[in-house]
Amino acid sequence: MTIPQTSAKIVATNTVATWTADATGGAASAKPARRLPVQKDWPTWAIVTVQIGILIGVIAFWEIGANTGFIDKFFWSHPSAIYHTLTIFFTTGDAFTDIAFTFRSTILGFLIGTFAGSALGLSFWWSKNYATIAQPYIICFESLPKLALAPLIVLVFGIGIASKIAVATALTLVVSTLTTFAGVKAVDPDGEKLFYSLGASRLQVFRKLVMPSCLPWIISVLRVNIGLALTGAIVGEFIASQHGLGRTIIYAGQTYDIALVWVAVSVLSALAIAMYVTVSWIERMLHRGVKG
């Protein structure tokens, strides 16, 4: 009983297949079959080799260009001179004092700005009136290029570390405030409804609902903030300072010591990368902690 049925089905399928083949066959001449474009991934070793190759190529071009006079040593310096200056900077120079100074003002500005900004953002939850009144000022301060205030900040806080921390704080504070405020606004109103229906006080809603739901928002700006804090610290040092990598860059530039400019910039980027990687790691850990 089943066998004839099956064969009948096969016949039917065959007919359909032939018919479809005919139809597509007719269209094929007009429109060639197109395959999904596939990109072939290179193995990691090949990618790394090319990356290192580019770096060596650029350095070699620079060195040879400088030696043959093709590149002006006075404006661009050259790799061997930079390496020479680097060893001096780390052996007899102020490398560690400068790094420590810049590092300290960046971290302090980062911490103060992030904490104060998050607290400010969270505080807007407590009163809609207060938040509405504060909003234009926050936005105004946000759109203002804070670095333009740096000379004023240095005048007020002096040429010591306080002014660098203040510039770094000014840059990070607003970002944290606005992001946290966005988090506050994104708190589910139904969640608040649930808490209040359970008879919660405002403080309980704040501690058990608003703060935990804003935490991912607060954490998400850490990486942005560490970069901003570093920028703030460096600009503070540009204006007036006795130590720091920013001060070294300005000093070297003004005395036409281009090799030292390159050295300070390289050390600065190494510092920036180290801090960025650390903060990214902390951010990942915190996210994991928040999500459980």
Binding site: F195, Y196, L198, G199, K291, G292
Partner: protein, 262 residues
Amino acid sequence: MPSTKLLIDDVSMKFATPAGVFHALDHVGLSVPRGWFVSLIGPSGCGKSTIFNIVAGLQEPSEGRILIDGVDATGTIGRVGYMLQKDLLLPWRTLTDNIILGMEIQGVKLAEARARALPLLRRYGLAGFENAYPRALSGGMRQRAALLRTLLFDTDVILLDEPFGALDAQTKLRMQEWLLQLWGDFGKTVVFVTHDVEEAIFLSDEVHVMGTRPGRIIEAIPVVLPRPRTRACTTTPDFMALKERCLHLLHSQAVSSIEDAA
């Protein structure tokens, strides 16, 4: 008939809108006896959720009062358990810690609250998930957890606002039976909002059909089907007659509202 547990005493709700005064609720009266399961069904916008918000103390009615055990509870929060359609489980808390939220807010010690919650979790189909986070759970389990949270918040009256509305049909049927089991075990007074007529009749002692514009109760239909109920009762002639009656009332509502709009 047992004494009245929850009394919605002639409640009206008006909102001022640019187009004039909008009557969300017009003299709604509803008396729920202790330990009863009562459902509200009605078209969208008939003010079912507004009634719940008023009973839960989240909105002040324009007129009327809410009495619980004969005591005026108008505008006071924390008197009734309220479950919304969304489960609203907090993603940063484990299942156990989500369920004890109500007790925690009421100031019960954490250890004690957890000790009270754990046997219930195990008994009501969430064993093995005590320390799981909500995102690891299926929709049905999340609703169970939300319902347990509402039950563990020690109030006699609980309001359920379309708790199974977002679940698939199979899960929904299982959840209804599970809810009846829970209701039998805990002896709470339940007010249940749904769009689903069959669900309302299957679960309830009384179904209140609501009308829209203004939101009001148009008819109270007692459901005199024997308990405990099984799925089989949904195909009995009595059940069918009740369903027919409800659908007819809802349909006449729908027709009149279309005529209103035209």
